[in-house]
Amino acid sequence: MDFLGRVLAWLTDPAHWSGTDGIPTRLGEHLHLSVEAVAIGAAIALPIGIALGHYGRLGNLAISVSNLGRALPSYGILVTAFQVFGLGDAPIILALTALAIPPMVTNSYVALREVDPDIREAARGMGYRELPLVLRIEVPLAVPLIMAGIRTSAVQVVATATLAAAIAGGGLGRYIIDGFAQQDYVKLFAGAVLVGALALLTDGSLSLLERVLMPRGIRMRKAPVTRQATAFKTA
């Protein structure tokens, strides 16, 4: 049997679909780590980015946090979290959260800054106070870029969660790290296919969500393709 045939056989072998090292378990671990990191990261990053963008303050900081985040070696951050806090999910989630925050801060800041100042003035003239102005006018208009930031973060967290296996964690990266260690190229390749598919699915489903959440007014304006999120890749 050729190589790809053996990979396919590995992926469809019922033995690999059950137990603690089975695909459903590993996928569950991977999703658990990623979802928690993105959710915690969003809860921290979005209010900061939105507030800075609304008041137009500390713009350099909001932009350079992404530069700094890009410069951090994700593998080094994971190993550091492991050596400081030990084994387990919590140190991994902490490290992933740290890497999830920068693109969300930068993109939500830029998103709020790009809201047309005339619209902001009009809303003020209509009697909107700060909080309703942010929540009902600015954020809906900024949704495309805010969501693009969340998508960038989520894809990077899913990618970086693969490295959890390199510090004795779970997730789909297990197959890749074990595959390298055992020189089992079939397992290695199959694991890579699963990880790649998960990353692409994350990207695809969040871009679908982005389109659903976009206010109808923006969609109808048929503006040229909205600005893209800052490129951000950590793993």
Partner: protein, 223 residues
Amino acid sequence: MTAGLFLDASDPWVDWSWLSSHVPTVLADLQQHVVLTVIAVVGGLVIALPLGVAAHRLTPVRLSSLGAFGVFYTIPSLALFALLVPYTGITEVTAEIALIGYNVLILLRNVIVGLDEVPADVLDAADGMGYRPRARLLQVELPLALPAIIAGVRVATVSTIGIVTIAWVIGVGGLGELILQGYIESFHTPLVVGSVLCVALALLADVSLATARRKAVPWARTA
């Protein structure tokens, strides 16, 4: 696994005597890191510049190249190394294919944006002055797109410096080898030295490129 000896008082974050006796190792890893990064960025530019010029003019090329490299960029590096290893082996070639591919997307986007943003009036003026298409591209359009292109080079360089550390799985991790040693031996010093040098290298590259940009395109002041 004995790696749970975290925050052991007998293991300071930096053991200076280890560092002073391992200077050649650290420098060799640093050198490998720099070489891998330079090849990845230059290789990315060699592909992205002509492709970007083509994509700027031809919509089908734009859509297909951005789509294809977008998919490539989304695939995590660890997975990409693993997908390539059965074919290209545990070599630097494997690392570079992945790193160059990632950089092509970042640079391609910026080349296209840079060329798109050249004002139509400027192009008309250039045509009126008798520029041939090739001369117009090389002497008018690309210089005006340079700020955007250099911005892309900065992002690509800093990202690459971070991702190289993961290439230890295929034995060419540069400073990642030090981080790996810190993990395996549960020893802080190589971990700290590898990580700090990696961040310092990224920031140094970013600042140098920002300076180079100011020198190269003094007319573009912002962003």
